[in-house]
C-alpha cells in the first residue's frame, strides 16, 4: 500500500525514496471528520443575539468549512495525487520513531499533572502529592523513560529543581504552588 516508490528507487538505495502515507492519511481522515463535527457545532451558535451585521456564528462557520475543504484537499494529496515529499518525510520518521517512549512519557505527564493538583472523584476530592514530591518523582522517571540510566544524578537534579522552583515561586514571585504531602512541614 504505502510502499509505492518512485521509478529511480529500484536501483541504488530503495530506503531513500520509500514513501509512507498511512500516517498522513489517518491525519486527513481525522481532520475531515473533525471539520464536519465543527460545522454542526457552528450551525448551532445562535446568530440573532443583539444587533450586528455579522453574527457570532459566521467566523466559526468559515473556520470549520475552511478546515473541511483543506482536509479534503489534504486527503486527496495523500491518496489520489500523493505528495511524494511528504511521503518520504513520513517514511523517514517512521523508521526512527519509538512509540513506546511516547506512550510512557504521555502517561507520566498525566500522572504528574494529577499528582500535582489532586483530582475530584464524584463528590470526593482526592488531594495531590504537592509540587515538590510530584516533581522529584516525575523528573527522574521521565529521564529514565528517555533512556538516561544515571538515576542518582537525575534524582538529585529533580530534588534541586523542585525545591528551588517551589521556594522561588511561593516566596519571591508570589505564585502559589500546592504543598501537598509536605503541607505541614513547609514554612
Amino acid at each position: 500500500m504505502s510502499e509505492a516508490s518512485s521509478s529511480n528507487g529500484q536501483h541504488g538505495r530503495p530506503e531513500a525514496t520509500r514513501v509512507a502515507l498511512l500516517g498522513p492519511r489517518i491525519a486527513a481522515g481525522v481532520l475531515v471528520i473533525g471539520a464536519v463535527f465543527l460545522i454542526f457545532q457552528a450551525l448551532q451558535i445562535q446568530q440573532g443575539a443583539g444587533y450586528s451585521v455579522v453574527g457570532p456564528g459566521t467566523m466559526p462557520l468559515v473556520a470549520a468549512i475552511g478546515l473541511l475543504v483543506l482536509g479534503g484537499v489534504f486527503a486527496v494529496r495523500t491518496t489520489l495525487m500523493p505528495d511524494t515529499d511528504l511521503g518520504v518525510t513520513a517514511a523517514a520518521e517512521e523508521q526512527v520513531t519509538h512509540w513506546a517512549t511516547i506512550a510512557v512519557i504521555g502517561g507520566l505527564l498525566i500522572l504528574y499533572a494529577v499528582a500535582l493538583n489532586g483530582f475530584r472523584l464524584g463528590s470526593f476530592q482526592v488531594p495531590g502529592l504537592g509540587y515538590i514530591v510530584a516533581t522529584t518523582v516525575f523528573l527522574p522517571a521521565a529521564a529514565w523513560a528517555l533512556g538516561s540510566r544515571a538515576v542518582v544524578r537525575n534524582v538529585v537534579v529533580g530534588v534541586v529543581i523542585a525545591v528551588v522552583v517551589y521556594f522561588g515561586f511561593t516566596e519571591f514571585l508570589g505564585v502559589r504552588l500546592p504543598g501537598g504531602l509536605l503541607d505541614g512541614v513547609l514554612p
Binding site: 451585521v53 467566523m59 515529499d85 511528504l86 520518521e93 523508521q95 529521564a143 537525575n154 514571585l173
Partner: protein
Amino acid sequence: MEVLGQLAGGFATALTPENLLFAAIGVTLGTLVGVLPGIGPALTVALLLPLTYNFQPVGAFIMFAGIYYGGMYGGSTTSILLNTPGESSSVVTTIEGFQMAKRGRGGAALATAAIGSFVAGTISTIAITLLAPIIARAALAFQPADYFALMVLAFVSVTALIGRSMLRGLISLFGGLFIGLIGIDVTSGQERFTFGVPELLNGIDVVVVAVGLFAVGEALYVASRMRHVKEEIIPVEGSLLMNRDELKRSWKPWLRGSAIGFPIGALPAGGAEIPTFLSYTVEKRINPRAPWGKGAIEGVAGPEAANNAAFSGVLVPLLTLGIPTSATAAILLAAFQVYNLQPGPLLFQNSGDLVWALIASLYIGNLMLLVLNLPLIRIWVKILQIPRALLYGAILVFATLGVYSASNSLVDVLIMYVIGVLGFFMRRYDFPVGPMILGVILGPLMEKQFRTALQVSQGDLSIFVTRPISLIILLIAGVAMVAPFVPRLMGRGRRLTVGSGSED
C-alpha cells in the same frame, strides 16, 4: 529632532539599574534557550508570561526584548556546532557554519555570527527608531477594513512563504483560527465551540497553546527519536577570533545581510527565512571564488546578519500596526495584551514612554549580547553537553509549571498536553506550527475588525475593495499567495526547501 528627545527619554528609563538588570536577565536567558536545541524565544516568553503579571510592564518588556534578541544569538551556536538549526531561520547558517566547525574554524564562525548579529541589530534598531514613528503616524488613517486586510496579508505571508507546503500551512492556520474561537464571544455573549465544558468558556489561553506546541510537542518529538538519532557536537578548537582575512571577508556580507533582512522583516509579510536564503544566494553570486560547501565564512556572516535584521524588522509592524508576522512576535503581542496595551498607532501616543524604553533597550541588549557572547562562548558550548534525557525531562517540568502556575487548573494542563500531542504529529508530518500560533492570536482580532468594518458599511462586503489602502493590501496578499507557484509554473522548479524546525 523630536525622535532623538524621545529616544533619550527611553534611554533614561532603560538605563536605570533595575531595567538594566531586566535586560541582562533577558539576554542571558535568551542566549541560554537559543543555545538549547528545540526551545526558542517564543516558548521562553510564553513560559515567563505568567510570572510577570506582578511586574511593571516596562521591566517585563525589556526582559522579553532581551530574550527575543538573545535567542537569535544563541541559535547560531547550535547551527554551527551541532548542525541542528535551533529555528527555521538558522537553517542556512548550518550549511557553511557546520563545515567551518568541522575544519577547526568554529570559533571564527561563531565570532562572525555574533559580530554580524550585533552590526545588523544595531543598524536595524536605528532604522526602527527612525521609521516606526512615521509608520505609526501614517497608520492613524487606517480603518477596520484596512486592518482586516493587513491581517489577511500577515496570514497569507506566514503560511505561503514559510515551510514546505502551503496546504499544510493553511491547515495549521485554520486549526489556529478554530482554537482562537473557542469560548464566549465578547460581542454577543454566545458560547462557541465550548462542547459543554465549563473550563472552555474563557477560551484557551495562548500560553497554553504555545507551551503545548513548542515545549511538549518538541519534547515528544525528540523523545520519539532519541533511541535512533544520535547527534554530534563539534568541539570549538583554536582561536575564537577571526583572522584578518576572515574579518575582511565578513564585513560586507554583514552590511548586505542587514540591508536584505530589515526591509523584508519590516513588511507585514515578514519572517526571517526568506532573507536568510536570499542573503546566502546573493553572497554566493557576489563571491563565486569563496570555498562554498567547504566552510565559506560569507555564508555565515551574511545570513546571520540578515536573520537578526529581519527579526528586528518584525518589530516594526508589531509595534506600529499591532500585526505580528512570526510566532515569537505573536507571543509578544499576547504579552502586550496581558498588560492591557494594544500595539498599534495609538501605542506611541498613549504609552510612548514604554515604547521608547523598549527601543532603547534594544540598543543596550545588542551591546550586552556582544559582550556576553564573544568571551563566554565556551561556557555556552558547555550547555550543549547537558544530557538530552534530563534536558527534555526538565522542559516538560517547566512547561507544566508555566501553565499550572498561571491558572492552578488541572484541566488547563491537560489541554496543554493534548495540544502537545497535536504538536508532535504536526512536527512529524511537517506541518508548520507558526501559522497556528498566529491564528490563535490574530484570529479573534481579525474577526473583531471584520465585524466592525461591516458594521460601518452596513453589511456591504465591497468596503474591503473600495477603500484604496485595503484594496492594495489585499492585492499584495494575493500576489504573495501566488508567488511561490510562479517558479514552478515557469519550469525552473527548484524550490527552496526549508527545514521544519519551529518558527520563532
